[in-house]
Every structure is written in C-alpha cells, then in structure tokens.
Point group: C2
Chain length 187, copies 2
DNA sequence: ATTATCTATAGATCTATAGATAATGC
DNA sequence: ATTATCTATAGATCTATAGATAATGC
C-alpha cells in the first residue's frame, strides 16, 4: 500500500484541506484524528507519519483556512469594478452564512482561537491585518479609512457570527441586509 | 453529608453559575462534568441527581449566561444619562475583553451555539433580539433605528471576538477604540 | 424512610504507539 | 532496504451508573 514521496506530499495536503474544512464546521476540538483521516480516505494509524501531534495538524489546518480567506478575497476583488461591494456581498451572502466549512475562518474560529495557543492567535491576527489592509484600500485610503475598515470588518464578522447562531432565517437575513446597508453608507 | 431541599436548590444554582462561567471561558465542549462539580465544591457522582445529562446542564448554563447579559445591560443603562454610551463603553472595555467568563455570552459562545441544538440557538436568538430592542431604544427609535441597532450590535460582537482572538493588545485596543468611535457617529 | 452527596467503576471514545504489510527506489 | 499506510491496542479521559453513607423530615 506504500505510495511515492510525491504521493505522500499530496496526502499530507489532502489531510490539511479536509481538516481545515472540518474545523471551520465543527470547531478546533471536535473533529477526531480518525474522522479526519477517514474523510481523507485513510486510516488513522498513518497519521503520525504526517504530523507530530493532533495539535500540529490543527495549527496547520487553521493557518491554511485563514490563508484561504485571503486568496478568496483577492479572487473576488482583484478585477472587480467595486471591490468593497464584491467583498461585502460575498461575506454577507446566504451561501457564506450556510457553508462555514468553505468560508472565512476569522468568523468561524474566533471563539476557538481565543482559547488557543500563540501559533493560532498569531495566524489569526495576521489574517485580521490582511483583511484590514484590503478593506482600507477598497475604501479609498482616506484619512479615517483604517477606522472605517475596522468598523466594517467587525460588523461583518459579528453579523456572520450572529446570523449563523440564531435559529431564525428571517432574522439572519435581516442582520446580513442591515449590515450590508450600513457598510455601504460608510464611504 | 446529605443537605436539605433548600440547600439542594442552592447547590443546583451554584453548579449552573459555575458552568455558565466555564463555558464562556472554555467553550461548550471543554469543561468536564467532574471539573465543573469540583469548581462548585462537589464530587462528580452527585451530578445526575441534579441534571439528566451533561447536555442539560450546558443548555441551562447557556440560558443562564445569556440572561445574565440582559440583566447586566439593564443595571448599566437604566439610570444612565447616556445609555448607549454606557452600554458601548462596557462592551468594548478592556475588562470585558479580558474576562469572557463574566461577560456577554453572545460574543463568547457564538461559534459554539451555531453548532449546537435548537434549545441553545433559540436562547441565543432571544438574547440577540433583547439586545436589539435595547440598542434601538438607546438610539431614540428613529426611522432606521433597527438597522442602526443591528449594525451596532454586529460591530460590538465582532470587535470583541476579534480583540480577544488576536495576540496583540495594541491591535485589540485599536479595534475597540475604532468601533466605539464608529458607533458614536451612528446617531 | 427518604434522599443529597460520596466513592468506585463500567463502557465509550480519543490520542498516540507498536508492529505488520507492501510498494518504492537505490 | 526503505517507508507510507494498515491493523491492533495501550493508556488516558470522559459520561453515566451502582451502591454506600449520613443528614433530613415524616
């Protein structure tokens, strides 16, 4: 059953990708090693030839999930006529709200990262800073652009956290809509 | 070692109070029954005379934590000259940021409640609605007061989630300050 | 007699490791 | 010969239960 080194590297990446989705959906503590390996098409025994510990995988998967957010922002906005609108519309969309596994790790993992170690919190901060740089640029870089960017990002993250947690889709829609309107009026 | 019924009711409340602090600090999954009981000054064996299951305690503790937020808002604002400022200043304070165990459960448990059952998500929604009613009232109840209240609450929750998760106190302070300024300009 | 709490433990689950298997690459 | 993955399991931890203990309240 042994595979080549190239195959092993692909396997490693597949485990990380599966884990980065699972942690956004279930949190950092919930997905078991065996479950992640099964989802990656493997048994749990080989896990420790890829990672020193479960914590190592979780850290790598968290970093991967956060980096994916940054790539996604650039894909959405690099060629957009209105990059701020493109970013905000995605962030507040029902699809993003309903698919945390494929969405922003800053919104999906905030509470978990707070309780995590330095590596997790540092990666989280770096993605927050990248978001702020992007939103500041979208806003045109005026005098209070950074303050506006912080307000906008906080409102976006809060809106997604609230919209996902409440058990009322009409309220979730109302929150997303109101925050979208509010951010539109910031510039 | 047996105690009276009145004592038992007090014990029950003490377990719930301890649990409501632990879950805000550590999340819904982390604190073990034995750990909560130890923190309440008991052994784990008696737990199931108080609660049908661990999930029952977590649900009761979540409801208790959310209700505590509502009481706290009223204590802060009922006699305040500027209720909105009193609420926002508390919410964005370094003390609130640094003591999640005693703070707002909407910010501390958003990601966890999303993954939780109907009872948790319903209690969460009710507290979100109570927050919105209060903030709407603080804003004077104008035409777009509800939309402003949603924007303000989202920004507050997002700011606390971000400020707690990043590993840079200067950035955390900057986030809190910027969101406070931004909300001040809403009215 | 009842019952609130305690000690002890069964059963389940999870991380991590040991040793076997089989394909790679010298 | 090396090593990527597999099967099997040790050791730790957690929920939930069983039975013992001792204070309450009829």
């Amino acid at each position: 059953m042994r595979q080549s080194r190239e195959e092993k590297a692909k396997t490693h990446e597949r485990i990380v990708r599966v884990a980065s989705q699972r942690i956004r959906e279930q949190g950092l503590d919930q997905p078991a090693v065996a479950e992640i390996m099964r989802a990656a098409g493997l048994t749990h025994g080989g896990f420790y030839k890829h990672f020193g510990s479960r914590d190592d995988l979780i850290a790598e998967a968290t970093e991967s999930a956060l980096a994916a957010s940054d790539r996604h922002v650039h894909e959405l906005t690099d060629d957009a006529a209105d990059p701020l609108a493109a970013f905000v519309d995605w962030y507040l969309s029902a699809q993003h709200r309903d698919e945390p596994a494929a969405g922003c790790a800053v919104a999906a993992l905030g509470d978990d990262v707070r309780r995590g170690d330095e590596r997790l919190r540092s990666a989280y901060r770096r993605q927050v800073e990248r978001y702020l740089e992007n939103v500041e640029r979208f806003l045109g870089g005026g005098e209070d652009a950074r303050q506006c960017a912080i307000l906008a990002l906080s409102a976006l993250v809060g809106a997604v956290v609230l919209a996902r947690a409440v058990d009322d889709e009409a309220l979730a829609d109302e929150i997303s809509h109101a925050v979208g309107e509010g951010i539109g009026e910031l510039r």
